[in-house]
Amino acid sequence: MSILSVFNQVEISHYIYLSTVLFSIGLFGVLFRRNAIILLMCIELMLNAVNLLFTAFSSYMGDADGQIFVFFIMVVAAAEAAVGLAILVLVYRNTRKTDVSFLDQLKG
């Protein structure tokens, strides 16, 4: 199957649905889970859903800008993961937990 024929058979709407589902799964994870590492991973998942949609639009419209945005999102995601994990390790060192619900000690 030639690659270009995908454009003829798959509508952009299918990609919209797919990435919406992925985004919702990521959101569900962020709301449901308490392990901070899993939370970070769910955020990565949501970012990837957006990336997929950007790429789909870019390819269907024949405009490279969308793919450049994906590039920037990846950069930001990498920076976010690095700093987030560093903070996480620090929190773990002090509290021995990665549970986010434990981090409410500033509450009066």
Partner: protein, 179 residues
């Protein structure tokens, strides 16, 4: 509506959603990480279908090859795989599912109402390195440089956070010994 779609797209989408669900629901964080890596692989395959070969490979290098290794590394270093997450009551799950479900519903409904406004105009070769590089280093050169600075800042921040401060350490051990 689904039966007209090509098989590769269907299979890929199914795998993507399934592994994404496993990321969210798995009890063991290491399994979550592995499932997420698999999700990134399927998303890369989608990029290949969409004629964005450069992004497909970069996605693998950046996400699967760097970010997820970092996650797995932290999980192993802290040995968190054994730590069981406190079980939340079912209400949490239901509330989260309702919120995420309504988001899904709203976006889908909004899209249904607005209809397809996207003109289909695929151009061959925009996903290649040459085309992307030209756009990146002409129109987007300022954001590109800014992301470089962002990276530097993130790197410095991560190193600084990861570094154990001797004075603080001494203080903590002193407090601990005082009880």
């Amino acid at each position: 509506m689904l039966q007209n779609l090509p098989i590769p797209f269907l299979v890929l989408s199914f795998l993507t959603i399934l592994s994404a669900l496993y990321v969210v629901t798995s009890k063991n964080p290491v399994h979550s990480v592995l499932a997420l890596i698999f999700t990134f692989f399927t998303i890369s395959a989608h990029y290949v279908l969409l004629n964005a070969q450069f992004l497909a490979v970069v996605n693998l290098i950046v996400y699967a090859g760097a970010i997820m290794v970092l996650f797995l590394f932290v999980l192993m270093l802290l040995n968190l795989s054994k730590e069981s997450e406190p079980v939340k009551s079912n209400w949490w799950g239901i509330a989260a599912a309702i919120s995420a479900g309504s988001l899904l519903l709203i976006i889908t409904a909004a899209f249904q109402v607005s209809g397809e406004a996207v003109a289909k105009n695929p151009v061959e070769g925009i996903g290649l390195v040459k085309a992307l590089g030209k756009v990146l280093f002409t129109r987007f050169v300022v954001p590109f440089e800014l992301t470089g600075i962002l990276f530097l800042a993130a790197m410095v921040g991560a190193v600084l956070l990861g570094k154990r401060e001797k004075a603080v350490d001494a203080l903590i051990s002193k407090e601990e010994s005082n009880g």
